[in-house]
């Protein structure tokens, strides 16, 4: 493992040095955004990738974090550093409140119930004008202050985002590789066997919801203080779908996959600029193609390719499925 640890450390150093080379605000903006989305996607990864529980409301949780942070700083004049933990906490609490009734559900029903929750959240954001300022959105959200520096340029904000991505990835990785993470994976793979093995599946699933909410809350708060303007449109069902696609493109239970997926799909629209108006359509087609041809996501694809180069039998042949390919019994 030390080789891997060294590699990750080197990668972080390289990432930290990027703003000294890249002076384009445009690219830094995109990197900030990609990092923020990566955090939300990692949260979804804990819920769907680890625990196998579908959610199509991740953007709504992001919205709860963004509005909490925005409101506390603009209406109450709180410091960003005080508002951010509150955003995380509130999102996590809502995750608890949503997770609890949703435990009775799985599969499609859970997906639908989370969509319903997302729609209700968006209606609240639009209609609770006293707090959210309705469809006009909330403006003038302050940037965080770090000692004498205001993190008000995209280059400076980048460091905050990078630090939070590293922290989030670390937490997700520690959970994944210890007892709690194994319990979540066990629930995903076979809930009955997990229960018979002594895992309190109910409790673990709730915690997965809470963690997904907390990650989204952090991402939402970071987003609010990054672009300094929030409106209900950014937290729609479509955005939740984008997060889901990012996760699945990367490889659903892989942390690096979540980050790569977020990065690629944040950059992709820019690369596809010539297609601009039809971009999202291409995106929809890409989703179908990806699911059909690349069931394990990019990370699975890389692993298969590497295995082929090393003249081992590609793991894709032995275990073609991953979460996405798993043939859960149809309940029909």
């Amino acid at each position: 493992m030390p080789r891997k640890a060294l590699g990750i450390a080197a990668l972080i150093v390289v990432l930290a040095l990027l703003p000294t080379v890249i002076h384009s605000d445009y690219i830094l903006t995109l990197l900030d955004l990609a990092g923020i989305y990566a955090i939300a996607v990692m949260g979804l990864g804990i819920l769907l990738g680890f625990a196998g529980q579908m959610s199509l409301a991740q953007a709504a949780f992001l919205g709860i974090g963004a509005y909490t942070s925005g409101w506390l700083t603009t209406h109450l004049g709180w410091s960003v550093w005080a508002a951010m933990p509150c955003a995380v906490l509130l999102s996590a609490l809502v995750g608890l409140a949503v997770g609890y009734p949703c435990l009775r559900l799985s599969g499609h029903y859970l997906a639908l119930a989370t969509i319903g929750f997302g729609i209700i959240t968006q209606l609240v954001l639009i209609n609770w004008k006293d707090v959210t300022n309705g469809s006009d959105g909330m403006t003038g959200i302050p940037p965080p202050q770090f000692g004498p520096w205001a993190l008000d340029t995209y280059g400076r904000y980048y460091y905050l985002v990078l630090a939070m991505v590293v922290l989030s990835a670390y937490v997700a990785w520690r959970i994944k590789t210890t007892r709690a993470g194994r319990a979540l994976h066990a629930i995903r793979e076979n809930e009955i066997a997990a229960r018979a093995t002594g895992i309190d599946a109910t409790r673990y699933k709730i915690v997965a919801f809470v963690l997904a909410g907390a990650y989204a809350g952090l991402a939402g708060s970071l987003l609010a203080h990054d672009i300094k303007f929030i409106s209900p449109d950014s937290y729609s069902f479509d955005q939740s779908v984008v997060f889901l696609v990012m996760l699945i493109l990367g490889g659903s239970s892989s942390i690096s996959g979540a980050i790569i997926g977020a990065l690629l799909l944040t950059m992709l629209p820019e690369v596809l600029r010539p297609l601009k108006s039809s971009y999202i359509m291409v995106y929809g087609a890409a989703v179908i193609a990806m699911i059909v041809f690349m069931p394990q996501g990019l990370v699975g694809l890389f692993a298969a390719l590497r295995a082929r180069f090393e003249h081992r039998s590609p793991p894709a042949d032995a275990a073609p499925a991953g979460l996405i390919g798993e043939a859960e019994a149809n309940p029909a």
Binding site: I175, A180, R182, H185, I192, A196, T197
Partner: protein, 272 residues
């Protein structure tokens, strides 16, 4: 009701203490009574077999004991404590582990991970503990890994530790399930048709494994259709038919019991 059944409660009361004591257990599915007023006692240290024709309520009984089904009546006592109505994970924590007739592994995870997950009830690290590197977390993680390796060696699968569980051949998957169950250091191990689908060589290995598990002091309650296996490993056999207890006793007595012979000849004769 047969004479054997009517006599059972008194006979049981005479036995000093059962590890698992089932009294008057009922389980219905809609109009069908799958388990009907079952009495059964599993003694500490025994290998106890539960046999009977297909559909006689054996697996249902196991599912009720392990908490996957809720009983409609009666009691299940384990080491004196009432289990009926408790959730499955709590029953596992109290020391009952099991395997499944239609193997239920964590298929995408490695064999080693499957067995490490079996340690769940014997370990403590939670979500918060996970965040602290080193210390108790690292120690527990190391011990869990070590224990899993020991158990894989015990069932003869250490070479397969890093393979995805579902890539293993059928017989090996059954042994992974047994290793996972043993990882929780159960006092009672429930095995649902451990020899199903095994060839004779694999079955021989299984018999040796079951004896070794017993040597470790684990009590076994197993459902099995392979009568050679049942006769060779069991201390006590309980025979069910239509959800009812029709006979109980040591293998040689059961083999001669007219009710048992009638049940098997009248029902499906699937004893090998």
């Amino acid at each position: 009701m047969t004479a054997a059944n009517a006599a059972a409660p008194n006979a049981v009361a005479a036995v000093e203490s059962g590890l698992l004591e089932i009294r008057g257990l009922m389980k219905r599915f809609g109009g069908v009574t799958a388990v009907n007023a079952l009495d059964m006692t599993v003694r500490t240290g025994d290998v106890h077999a539960l046999i009977g024709p297909n559909g006689s309520g054996k697996t249902t009984t196991l599912n009720v004991i392990s908490g996957l089904y809720r009983a409609d009546g009666g009691s299940v006592r384990f080491d004196g404590a009432q289990l009926a109505g408790r959730p499955a994970h709590e029953i596992a924590r109290r020391g009952i582990a099991r395997t499944f007739q239609n193997i239920r592994l964590f298929g995408e995870l490695t064999v080693a991970d499957n067995v490490m997950i079996g340690r769940h009830v014997r370990t403590r690290t939670g979500f918060v503990g996970a965040l602290i590197p080193g210390g108790a977390t690292a120690r527990e993680e190391r011990e869990t890994r070590e224990k899993a390796r020991e158990l894989l060696a015990f069932v003869g699968l250490e070479h397969a530790a890093d393979a995805p569980a579902r890539s293993l051949p059928y017989g090996d998957q059954r042994r992974v399930e047994i290793a996972r169950a043993l990882a929780s250091e159960p006092r009672l191990l429930l095995l649902d048709e451990p020899a199903a689908g095994m060839n004779p060589a694999e079955t021989d290995t299984l018999v040796a494994l079951l004896r070794a598990i017993r040597e470790r002091g684990t009590t076994l309650l197993l459902i099995e259709h392979d009568m050679n296996l049942v006769m060779s490993v069991s201390d006590t056999i309980t025979v069910l038919n239509f959800g009812q207890h029709i006979a109980e006793g040591p293998p040689d007595a059961i083999a001669r019991n007219p009710d048992v012979i009638a049940a098997y000849l009248g029902g499906t004769l699937d004893a090998a």
